[in-house]
Symmetry: C2
Subunit: 374 residues, 2 copies
Amino acid sequence: MTLSSARIVATYHVRCDARAIAVRAEALAIEQSIELPRGAVREGLIVAEIAGRVEEITQTSPEMFMVQVSLAASTMPPEAGQLMNILFGNTSLHDDVALVDVAFPEGYARAFGGPRRGLAGLRTAVGAGDRPLTASALKPQGLGTADLAQLAGAMARGGLDIVKDDHGLADQAYSPFAARVPACAAAVRQANRDTGRHTLYAPSLSGDLDRLRAQMKLVRAEGLGAVLVAPMVIGLPAFTALVAETPDVVFLAHPSMAGAARIAPELLLGRLFRLLGADAAIFPNYGGRFTYSIETCRRIAGAALATWTDGSTDIRPAAPAPAGGMTLDRVPELLDFYGRDAILLIGGSLLAAGDGLTAAAADFQRRVERHGQA
Amino acid sequence: MTLSSARIVATYHVRCDARAIAVRAEALAIEQSIELPRGAVREGLIVAEIAGRVEEITQTSPEMFMVQVSLAASTMPPEAGQLMNILFGNTSLHDDVALVDVAFPEGYARAFGGPRRGLAGLRTAVGAGDRPLTASALKPQGLGTADLAQLAGAMARGGLDIVKDDHGLADQAYSPFAARVPACAAAVRQANRDTGRHTLYAPSLSGDLDRLRAQMKLVRAEGLGAVLVAPMVIGLPAFTALVAETPDVVFLAHPSMAGAARIAPELLLGRLFRLLGADAAIFPNYGGRFTYSIETCRRIAGAALATWTDGSTDIRPAAPAPAGGMTLDRVPELLDFYGRDAILLIGGSLLAAGDGLTAAAADFQRRVERHGQA
């Protein structure tokens, strides 16, 4: 990888008066690079190569502009923290700017690696051919280990593809990780033996890298092939470290703490999490508990799936996983919208079935498997 | 520590129509706790204890409300990632809500520990009595190791208290960490021998926990007593791990990636970073390159310094470090505003002095030391 003269092109939306945009764009380019006025830098090469360059300014509405800034790749060795630091670090402190897109030169795709399993690996793991996938979540917070395991077993007996811990399940006294994971794993294993299916149980990992590794060790000891992590909660550097050292495990990326941070959701959830190794990107679907628009959801799914190659390296597609207050009656609509390359994640509305959970899960699974086959 | 029935009280600003605020507040309380409608949870104890409770709703302007929600401490074992997950995880995805304050029950202060050195430890390290401190930054990005070391030496000879790496300096080919840190450390050591002062050099650490630890090892091998980290870039769990294992090192917390995330700056930079172990909190000062208001800056400084005890544990004050486009002529104004309990961080305007850097640094130091002694 030669990054020496290569440039990363970052695109920002900037809210600004038209008379001030040129100066504002230049300030942005400086802030994300040399942090000194060009005049205060004596080294010509630094001004010419290291300083950010405003490549294009396009007005998109009376007070909104799209600003493209190229940044020297040499300032950003491929490390996840430095990636965010250079793309948006100090600029995140300005509330007139959002980061909306990034184009990487050759080298970053290979260095970060993208999903190690991706949508295709997920389908293989659950034996799903090319159909859409189903998922649900173990909750509420506060349930003990036995109750969670009972829910996991019931969902798996309904035939769901993925049963994941709620992202709020960490290592609480009422269901410690070390007890919860073996119990839920055993319940899903037993259900899989009974049904002949391959439901994946994905425990939620949390803590620092030491703790994440200890938890991953238990996950593997239980023979589990998937985990849930919230990259913005555990930190992007820890996320990439974990992905790199367990390439056979499917990583479901949860959007907790990823919101309203003035980074476009399709970029952060769809592209950056994917580049860093997310096999599936969970995001709030339109018309549920969250307010993402249909267009935002379409863009997130598109970004997770789009062909991504830099010539020498292909990044595998990640599975879009719309979630957040979905209901069974919306399955046809969601599948029409997302197509077959998606995981439908329905939690609360399945759990509301109470004793009928397995039947509700089976109903969910059936609706998804049969969609489009009529 | 008994957290079983204790509750954390989080305060949010919510933009909402007055007729809808009760429902919106309840949805927020559920989102940050059980994530299921109360009616869908059969276990009475979970509904009574684990579900978030709306404690108070106060209208602050026609469409703005202050909402206090209490969350069960048992859902949040004291781990930095889970802290953010429970306080703001999914709610970060809603753009009508900002997290503005948190009150912790007993136990968290001791568990997280706060600054291990704090403002007092910083003053002791540089021999500053009770006066305000000075700091500057090594930049621009792109300079080689020898040039950075030369700048560090020049600043230290001017007598500054702290010379830190720019937060953009990571492990770039043009100044690799393993070369830069010993070179800058040597330059500052030599200057300290010449001046008889105790300038601290604080290298910028980056990467995952393995890499952070390797870098910290080098920092200690060089006998350095301070580092710069951006907690939101390295990840809060990695930050707390590092603080816990090197309690003798001063941690300067940089705000990169901490902005515009709908968490009040005084809470995130002033209180949470402090709780997690920041000895100094760097933040964008009013009237510089950033747009934080005077009031926001006053609140950040206040939060970093305020007495903080939960009865059994005191959290040390952290040093407020206003920065971001400050100039020498503003020193009197800044000291009048912040008082003696502050670090003034001036980078670019010192570096603009070029060959006169040492003289400019000495001028800066003199202005700070003499302020209020006339």
